[in-house]
């Protein structure tokens, strides 16, 4: 059984990590739609998958944040990826299974996954 005392040890480790990360955030943002439509369509596991994947790969420059309804409820869960200096990419009908590929291809290697985009879904 986990005890609250373990938090003390985690604190020291997290503090060290935070120092490494200091200043490394470059403004890259993963924005997950978390309004009623997004939540009903499955945004919660998508959000948690992004957070886990970004942590696992130690992508210290990436922030995972939320937004409300952007008016394309039929494509929820919607995730926008904003990389500074690049055009915004909007993914639709995202599932936890698609998250690993978006993180690997787009966030790590800089190649948006065109087949998962809303633009592609509307075709």
């Amino acid at each position: 059984m986990k005890s609250i005392a373990e938090l003390q040890a985690l604190r020291e480790k997290a503090r060290a990590n935070m120092q490494v990360r200091e200043g490394s955030h470059d403004g890259t943002r993963v924005v997950v739609g978390m309004a009623t439509c997004g939540i009903a369509a499955g945004a919660r596991p998508v959000l948690n998958a992004f957070a886990d994947e970004v942590a696992k790969r130690q992508l210290k420059q990436v922030a995972v944040v939320q937004t409300g309804c952007i008016g394309m409820c039929q494509f929820e869960p919607i995730v926008e990826v904003l990389v500074p200096g690049k055009e915004k990419v909007t993914y639709g009908k995202v599932t936890p299974e698609k998250v690993a590929r978006i993180v690997a291809d787009h966030l790590v290697n800089g190649n948006p996954v065109v087949e998962y985009t809303v633009a592609n879904l509307m075709k």
């Binding site: 059984m1 986990k2 609250i4 373990e6 938090l7 003390q8 985690l10 604190r11 480790k13 997290a14 503090r15 990590n17 935070m18 978390m34 309004a35 009623t36 439509c37 939540i39 009903a40 919660r44 596991p45 959000l47 948690n48 957070a51 886990d52 942590a55 995972v64 944040v65 939320q66 409300g68 309804c69 952007i70 008016g71």
Partner: protein, 182 residues
């Protein structure tokens, strides 16, 4: 909504929009009384009498992007379909309490689902806010408060990956322990 924990997440978003700094989520499961009760309490700005009257109307919303708001109507529908009801108490400037009651054994009651996933999503997205999670069954109760985590963590934010994972594990273990006593 496929599970009630998603309704809870959705209603908690309203608390966040109302500038709450502390949100309490609770689950009471009682087999002996055949009740499942879910609550969301916040210290946000609260609602006026008029807003409170209209909040059940799906065509009432304070947001400006569109003219519908489905959060409360969906949660209310889920409760009423399962022999229960939804109540809202709100005081302007003090906060709001939303409570949904269900018949535990009602065939149309959606599953509770992943409450730990709801709490961890809220912490991940809102590390500056405090959350209290209380889970009660016939055999006992468990409560976690991010303020007591914060006391130990100092300047380390609650949404540090290792910290969120620890909180998920801590909640999961304690809720499981509670259920295994039943």
């Amino acid at each position: 909504m496929r599970e009630l924990s998603l309704n809870v997440l959705d209603i908690a978003q309203n608390s966040i929009a109302a500038n709450a700094t502390c949100i309490t989520l609770w689950v009471t499961e009682s087999v002996s009384q055949n009740r499942l009760i879910l609550g969301i309490e916040d210290n946000g700005r609260g609602m006026t009498e008029e807003q409170l009257q209209r909040v059940r109307d799906p065509f009432f919303t304070t947001r400006t992007t569109r003219r519908v708001g489905m959060g409360i109507p969906l949660f209310r529908m889920a409760a009423e379909m399962a022999g229960g009801s939804l109540t809202i108490d709100s005081t302007l400037g003090k906060g709001t309490v939303v409570t949904a009651a269900f018949l535990l054994d009602h065939i149309d009651r959606p599953p509770l689902g992943d409450m730990v996933g709801t709490v961890s999503a809220l912490i991940r997205l809102n590390p500056q806010l405090d959350f209290v999670y209380r889970h009660q069954t016939d055999s006992g109760s468990f409560e976690a408060d991010t303020r007591s985590f914060r006391e130990i963590l100092g300047e380390v934010p609650l949404n540090e990956p290792d910290i969120v994972q620890w909180i998920e594990g801590y909640l999961t273990e304690n809720v499981q322990a509670l259920n295994s006593q039943a």
